[in-house]
């Protein structure tokens, strides 16, 4: 994991002092709210429905025990004992005081954390594959490049007041778990002979106008990628629309200019960079950062853990959890495990201080100090010996973190919705809980198999409803909450935007509609291994739409 050197540490401390000054000027009235707002947003501070909210950056979802313990302390001391992990692999605190935020930022700086650029019209937290560095299906670990992009984009003087927010995601795996095709820039690392480079996708996004990204470059060598990103950013900063915030994302520039014309603009800007303009990232710097991400030493183990097999036969709960929450590790005898933050009837992505501390302990005892946040609002311990799973599982049971549902129907992405958010039109959490309760039986969930339900409380789509296999969007109809269902979205390498099935339903009709939808899938699948999205792709949406609107 990356560690700050004196430059990184100084920059973060200086940022805290700068923000402390801004808060002081806001509170004495010399800085007006309209002028303070972009400044606080660039430091992750929102004013939400009930209070200020602080979004802390977790670059590419990477945590360690010291960091998550500090988050637990902040939740306890400055908030109400919990935090909310987000779809950008960050964490949000919902009840902080503005006057406390400079102190919170100082305690974060102690553990090499910050809230820089977690909001505002700038380059946001870089996200990545939560199994990076552990999974068998990647060509290399993408995190060194996430870190280099994080540093390059931090306080970039030219790109602090972009037309709109800007999100970059990086993956190096065949199976895209970072949703790169629905990002402003999605980077897929590729290898050509001995050379590493990036396939560049631009102009994806969700929100009001969901669009799948266009690939504009096949292979930009790693030594040039930051210069290439500068070229893309400059084209966007100069030519992106600023007359309408709903048309200001780069996806609109790409689609209005046309992908070819946009590519030509970027190529021309990239080619025009003179020797005094390029970043000329030293190879020694790439090597320095890569050294922080060397794979941990994991003693050789046999590929099938006898201890685990034995424990599984004795404990059906462990057996089920081991079937659903493990991901293949590149080294035999190890696994990457998902700690679900989606208990049935709970709050998606929330963790209490006690749970955060328990996760820290487990990562220390069993997991090489490595903890990741997923964009699906769960936690991953990427390097776990299979032999340790029985002990680890029993600890998870004790702290209420042993939900066996990774990737299943109750493992939903759910935005905070109208219960917290100033932008929301409808609540998301209660409708998600009601759907979970309708599918509470673990055996049934497992039989249904992989099915992603994503719920957003407004068109801004923080709950990624456009790319849920089943998407649910809350809308306001004259003060009443309604929910629009869409079908067929996906966020992976086959990224697609879901299609709206029909009229929106009142809250109480949603769980029944989802049950009919799922019953239709189970009746129509060719065999239990054919997933919901595969069945939908094979036979089309019509039978599913009928099921949604079938009278009870």
């Amino acid at each position: 994991m990356y560690r700050y050197d004196e430059f990184d540490a100084a920059l973060v401390r200086e940022r805290v002092a700068q923000f402390r000054g801004q808060v002081t000027r806001r509170l004495d009235g010399t800085l007006l709210e309209d002028e303070f707002k972009p400044l606080r947003l660039q430091n992750g501070v929102y004013l939400q429905l009930h209070a200020y909210m602080l979004r802390v950056a977790i670059p590419y979802g990477q945590l360690d025990p010291a960091k998550i313990r500090r988050l637990a302390d902040i939740a306890e001391r400055y908030d109400r004992g919990y935090g909310h992990f987000t779809t950008r692999q960050n964490i949000q605190f919902n009840w902080v005081s503005l006057k406390d935020i400079p102190d919170i930022l100082d305690t974060l700086a102690d553990v090499e954390m910050h809230a820089i650029q977690t909001s505002g019209n700038c380059i946001r937290n870089v996200t990545s594959d939560h199994f990076a560095g552990a999974t068998a299906d990647e060509i290399m670990d993408p995190r060194p490049w996430c870190e280099l992009i994080r540093q390059w984009s931090t306080f970039h003087p030219e790109f602090a007041f972009l037309p709109r927010k800007f999100k970059i995601a990086v993956t190096a795996a065949d199976h895209d778990r970072a949703a790169i095709r629905v990002h402003d820039i999605g980077l897929h690392m590729r290898r050509r002979g001995n050379e590493i480079g990036f396939e560049v996708h631009v102009g994806g996004g969700q929100g009001r106008t969901p669009i799948i990204a266009t690939q504009i470059a096949n292979f930009i060598p790693e030594s040039q990628i930051l210069d290439y990103l500068e070229a893309v950013m400059r084209v966007y900063n100069r030519f992106g629309r600023r007359d309408n915030k709903y048309k200001a994302r780069i996806k609109i520039l790409v689609s209005e200019a046309g992908p070819d014309a946009f590519r030509q603009l970027v190529d021309a800007e990239f080619a025009a960079q003179g020797p005094t303009e390029t970043l000329a990232l030293p190879q020694a710097e790439i090597d320095r950062v890569e050294a922080y991400f060397r794979a941990p030493y994991l003693p050789a183990r046999t590929s099938a853990s006898a201890a685990l097999a034995l424990a599984r036969t004795a404990d059906p709960g462990l057996d089920q959890w081991a079937r659903t929450n493990l991901h293949p590790h590149k080294q035999a005898g190890y696994t990457s495990l998902t700690i679900s933050l989606k208990p049935v009837g709970g709050l998606a992505g929330d963790a209490t201080s006690a749970q955060m501390r328990a996760i820290a302990d487990l990562a220390e005892q069993f997991g090489q100090d490595d903890i990741r946040v997923t964009h699906t609002q769960n936690i991953v311990l990427p390097h776990i010996a299979e032999d340790d799973l029985p002990a680890l599982y029993s600890r998870l049971v004790e702290v209420g973190l042993a939900t066996a549902n990774e990737g299943l129907i109750t493992d939903m992405i759910v935005c905070p919705g109208l219960d917290y958010c100033n932008l929301a039109n409808a609540r998301s959490i209660p409708v998600g809980q009601d759907i979970q309760n309708a599918f509470a039986d673990p055996a049934e969930q497992e039989d249904i198999g992989r099915l992603h339900i994503n719920i957003s409380g407004c068109i801004n789509a923080c709950g990624h409803h456009h790319v849920g296999h089943i998407g649910i969007l809350g809308v306001d109809r004259k003060g009443e909450e309604f929910y629009q269902i869409s079908l067929g979205g996906r966020a992976d390498e086959k990224a697609a935007i879901g299609e709206i099935a029909g009229r929106a339903l009142p809250h109480e009709e949603v769980p029944g509609a989802i049950r009919r939808l799922v019953a239709t899938y189970r009746a129509l699948r060719t065999h239990p291994e054919e997933s919901f999205i595969e069945t939908l792709d094979r036979i089309g949406h019509d039978p599913f739409k009928e099921a949604i609107y079938a009278a009870d």
């Binding site: 050197d5 430059f7 100084a10 920059l11 200086e14 940022r15 002092a17 700068q18 000054g21 801004q22 002028e35 972009p38 400044l39 019209n121 540093q151 390059w152 931090t154 306080f155 970039h156 003087p157 030219e158 790109f159 602090a160 007041f161 972009l162 400059r234 900063n237 100069r238 600023r242 025009a272 960079q273 003179g274 005094t276 303009e277 970043l279 000329a280 990232l281 030293p282 020694a284 710097e285 320095r288």
Partner: protein, 164 residues
Amino acid sequence: MPLIKDGRESDNIWSNLDDERQDIAGSHVTVSLARFLRHKAEHDLPNVTLGVRLAPEDDPALLRPFLDDLILIEVSFPKYTDGRGYSQAQLLRRRYGYRGELRAVGHVLRDQILYMNRSGFDAFETSRADLSQVLAALTEHSAYYQPAADRAPSIFARRHPRSD
């Protein structure tokens, strides 16, 4: 409006001439890019020292043939949230090699001045920040990751001195 240049309060000898107006007050005048280019073709603004005031949508490349003779380019920020002026400044300084005064005008606030300075501005016309605030803003960070028009060595470079 107060002018802060090269870290000092400075007298402003320049005035801005609206495109509609013909009467010129003073010897140093900035005009829009369009009017400047017209003057370069028709020489209709004799006997004054001309500078240019760029609007956010202007292409600074059009000034390229004239940069050796220009001593002032103003970049206007109608709203401080419109960041196009930062790219104009970086292009003028780093790609086109402009060495005259580059002045931020319009909605220029204390908390944007550091980014402006790094992008190549050396003068700020602002009623919203006094000298001490501007100087404080310029020293809020001791180092920066990326190279920019201020030619400060980047952290990426400083980590690897060329002696190796």
